[in-house]
């Protein structure tokens, strides 16, 4: 009987610790990256769920360990007849593996569902917006990494190229990411996307922005001397604009940057080894 007691008591303590911690996680911990896009919503939610799982598992293991450490001083005084000699226990082992399988499959399922919703263009746009007649045709923005700057091309509007990322809310956006030299990574923090820019490869990612926001863009992959300075933050940061603001920016940008188009290579998905087009 007493042997079981030293499993049940720590289990009760662990449950209490886990529940208190989980409540704190739900109420107090507001994880980034926020709610600016559908992907950011997913990340915030997944992070919250994983924080709950992690706290529960971690608190349980640590509680059991601390309990057994505290118990050891008492066990040491036990007569030899009461000391346990336990090599294995099929029930406990099966329960342990079963629990971890359930947790892992839950985490994997959560991830797969969120991933499908972020990578398939038909699922990125929220159902509510679709019902209200949102557009499924994406606005294509090409992100070009180069040492040490990101530039953005808008092929549907003549293919002009800017150094500022501007995009509209309430519309599916498709990023086509490539590089002119070494590998970079286009990481737009508030959008909750990170897409590597690799020369010769066109990497695609989708985003649906829910509300206007500042977009901090950094290069995520070590790309040489000024990697740390390859950022668009602060005054240079990107912006997600309302549709009307975006269309006025678009007409400004087309008139400003459009004439320079003749100096640029023709728009192409990749620029190495040979231009490929849609």
């Amino acid at each position: 009987m007493s042997t079981k007691r030293h499993l049940i008591t720590p289990a009760i303590i662990a449950a209490i610790v886990a529940v208190i911690g989980d409540m704190l996680v739900v109420l107090v911990l507001h994880l980034p990256p926020g709610h600016a896009t559908t992907a950011a919503n997913d990340d915030t939610f997944t992070g919250q769920v994983f924080a709950i799982i992690s706290w529960t598992v971690g608190a349980a293991v640590v509680t059991f360990a601390v309990y057994f450490i505290a118990l050891s001083t008492r066990v040491r005084q036990d007569p030899p007849s009461r000391q346990v000699y336990l090599r294995s226990h099929v029930g406990l082992q099966s329960a342990w593996i079963g629990t971890s399988v359930v947790l892992v499959m839950f985490a994997a399922g959560l991830g797969v569902v969120a991933l499908e919703g972020q990578t398939s263009p038909n699922l990125v746009v929220p159902a509510k917006a679709l019902a209200a007649g949102a557009d499924r045709n994406p606005l294509i923005i090409q992100v070009i990494g180069q040492q040490w700057q990101f530039t953005y091309r808008y092929p549907q509007y003549g293919g002009f190229e800017t150094q500022q990322l501007r995009l509209p809310t309430g519309r599916l956006i498709q990023f086509d990411v490539t590089s002119l030299d070494v590998s970079h990574s286009f990481s737009a923090y508030q959008l909750a996307i990170k897409i590597d820019a690799i020369s010769g490869i066109n990497n695609v990612g989708y985003v649906y922005v829910l509300k206007p926001t500042v977009i901090d863009v950094r290069c995520g992959e070590l790309c040489g001397l000024w990697h740390g300075y390859m950022t668009d933050v602060g005054p240079q940061a990107g912006r997600a604009l309302t549709p009307s603001q975006f269309s006025s920016w678009l007409s400004y940008a087309e008139s400003t940057y459009g004439p320079e188009e003749t100096n640029l290579p023709k728009f192409s998905l990749t620029y190495f080894p040979a231009p490929t087009t849609y």
């Binding site: 992690s54 000391q83 346990v84 082992q93 593996i97 991830g111 590998s183 020369s199 290069c219």
Partner: protein, 637 residues
């Protein structure tokens, strides 16, 4: 040589100029290495048709390394065999050469094990010093005292040197030293290869450090990934990084083949698979990875070297190559590599725990299956490092699930911990304290790994300081704490002296507390968007980074306490340790200290498992052919 000198294991050494300069020794090997390297560099530079001189540098490093190794004596036996002469004997009992043995080729696994332990610990402290330099730079949000190029070189050197350390410290030092003793063998299967694996390590480290000098290229700017095409375009310092990194891979692969063969064919009679110590099992699990993964790395590095030296353009998109190919090849090696770090740490933890819990290891068979499962599954997860690099979208759910599944066999190790601790009369000696700290740290490291395995979340956390925190929790918190535990545990067997308890306690508490206060905030700064390998960061994160840096310095200082303890206890402490201070049942503790040159005068017969603590009727672990000089049994409780 006097009789007493042989008995004490120390021989008088007489030096003369003739002996120093005309025989094969470390000094002549260095001279020949440098001269042959310079000559090869000159020839290569003449042959090189391009302006960058990479062919000369690569050739110089490789020929110089070959000259060093040949002059050290690695070709001697080969030449003898070719000439039809018998090669040198492997029986060493009568030929201990004293301390000079540690500066040359030794066929004694205990000498090589100690060479690894001291050499790699030195590299660990050196690379740790670079970590301090990195943290100094990050005290300032807009770039610290080092220019951007030197900062990335520091990051790369710290990474590559720590790869050396993490790959080889547990396998090279404790694997080589204790596996033959644990399984009842007189030597390793391939003693020359064992020594060869060691000598690649200082050679590789020297080559890596040579890159920081302007004449050798003035640093390299890719971090330890050496991602192409950046590494193809980088300055000449990259050549040294390629050769040095390849040497780690070759050393790991050779050491692995050696240990695997030793465990498979050289076990003492009665040492069945189910009686083998769990540390030996962890070596079986890890060496399949360590033997098979590094050749892929070496291939990728050769391809980068060819891209640099002869413009082969494997990885240059502008000439039809693929930069993505390098990422695939690198991580096909890179993921098994991180389990090469941690599986021996599991082995050490589960080896030490029952000794201090005085209970059998809970779920021995399941723990073995868990380690083998980790080893097997680690081949199927490498794409989680490149989720954002544009892998085929259909592969991402598979690799996400595979990555999360690997936590099941890992969790089994935690069950072994908890089960062994349950109602155990724990003895809180230093090795046990470090094992408990290891499990706490690795718990955090493992749970944060689940965040990174999730593809949507990984798009936020990838390449941020969250990743840095995660892998430092697993590698430093897991493996380096296993190194601490192992050093306190096996030090009496290696040196005959105990490590000082008071200094050890001080080391434990400073290391455990400051490790956690250093790396826990990294999860926060990573979540808040701080990109790794960047000398600049958002000014809002300044306070947290200063906190991390200060605690990092304190963690670094606690390693100096460890070093001071080792030096003090080894050199200045007079008191000798008993042969079996922890009352362990494992075979390596049943031999005398200092360990005889051939380990066992008579090969023992193993009659029971090593973890039958607490069983009053347990048989002694081994029977010796004729009892007498060697203690064969340990009190059961």
């Amino acid at each position: 040589m006097s009789q007493t000198a042989i008995a004490s294991g120390r021989a008088p050494v007489n030096f003369s100029a003739r002996r120093l300069f005309l025989t094969q020794n470390l000094l002549t090997a260095c001279i020949v290495g440098i001269v042959s390297g310079v000559v090869a560099y000159w020839i290569g530079a003449q042959l090189d048709t391009t302006d960058n001189g990479d062919a000369g540098i690569l050739l110089g490093y490789l020929v110089g390394a070959a000259g060093f190794l040949i002059m050290l004596g690695f070709a001697n036996d080969l030449i003898l065999r070719l000439r039809g002469r018998p090669s040198a004997s492997l029986v060493k009992s009568a030929e201990r050469k004293g301390w000079t043995e540690y500066f040359g080729i030794s066929l004694d696994h205990k000498v090589v094990g100690l060479q690894f332990a001291v050499g790699v610990t030195f590299m660990f402290l050196l690379a740790g010093f670079q970590a301090m330099m990195i943290r100094t730079d990050l005290l300032y949000p807009n770039g610290g005292p080092w220019p951007a190029g030197q900062y990335t070189t520091l990051v790369g050197l710290h990474g590559l040197m720590m790869m050396f350390v993490a790959t080889l410290i547990l396998i090279g030092a404790f694997g080589n030293y204790f596996i033959p003793l644990m399984i009842g063998a007189k030597r390793m299967a391939f003693p020359r290869l064992e020594s060869f694996a060691f000598w690649l390590v200082p050679l590789g480290a020297l080559i890596l450090y040579s890159t920081i000098f302007a004449g050798f290229g003035g640093g390299f700017n890719t971090g330890w990934y050496l991602y192409a095409p950046l590494s193809v375009e980088a300055r000449a310092g990259m050549d040294g990084a390629i050769v040095g990194f390849a040497f780690i891979g070759i050393a790991a692969s050779i050491a692995a083949i050696n240990l695997l063969t030793t465990i498979f064919v050289m076990r003492a009679p009665g040492m069945t698979w189910s009686r083998m110590p769990i540390f030996a099992w962890s070596m079986v699990a890890v060496e399949f990875l360590s033997a098979l993964a590094p050749p892929v790395l070496a291939t990728a590095l050769i391809m980068v070297g060819m891209d640099r030296a002869v413009q082969s353009s494997f990885f240059e998109a502008s000439a039809g190559g693929s930069a993505f190919l390098y990422e695939e090849m690198f991580w096909f090696f890179g993921h098994p590599e991180v389990y090469i770090f941690i599986i021996p740490a599991f082995g050490i933890a589960m080896e030490i725990l029952p000794v201090f819990a005085r209970k059998p290891l809970f779920g021995y068979r399941l723990a073995v299956a868990g380690m083998m499962g980790v080893s097997l599954m680690s081949w199927f997860v490498w794409n989680h490092h490149i989720f954002t690099s544009g892998i085929a979208p259909g592969l991402r759910p598979f690799f996400m699930t595979a990555t999360e599944l690997i936590s099941i066999p890992t969790g089994v190790v935690f069950l072994a911990l908890l089960g062994t601790m349950w109602r155990a009369p724990l003895r809180f000696k230093l090795p046990l304290l470090f094992v408990l700290a290891l499990f706490f740290n690795f718990l955090i490291g493992g749970l944060t790994g689940v965040f990174l395995s999730d593809v949507p979340l990984d798009t936020t956390l990838h390449d941020s300081f969250f990743v840095v925190g995660h892998f430092h929790y697993t590698i430093v918190g897991g493996e380096i704490f296993a190194l601490y535990a192992a050093s306190y545990f096996w030090f009496p067997k290696i040196t005959g002296k105990m490590l000082n308890e008071r200094l050890g306690k001080l080391h434990f508490w400073t290391a455990f507390i400051f490790f956690n206060t250093t790396f826990l905030p990294m999860f926060a700064v990573g979540y808040l968007g701080m990109i790794r390998r960047s000398p600049v960061y958002a000014s809002e994160l300044h306070g947290l980074n200063v906190w991390i840096s200060v605690n990092g310095f304190l963690f670094g200082f606690s390693n100096l306490i460890w070093l001071a303890n080792i030096i003090y206890s080894w050199v200045f402490q007079k008191e000798l340790a008993p042969a079996n201070p922890w009352e362990s049942r494992s075979l390596e503790w049943q031999v005398a200290t200092p360990i005889p040159a051939d380990n066992f005068d008579r090969i023992p017969t193993i009659v029971s498992g090593p973890y039958d603590y607490g069983d009053a009727n347990a048989r002694p672990v081994a029977e010796w052919p004729e009892s007498g000089s060697i203690p064969s049994a340990v009190p059961a409780t």
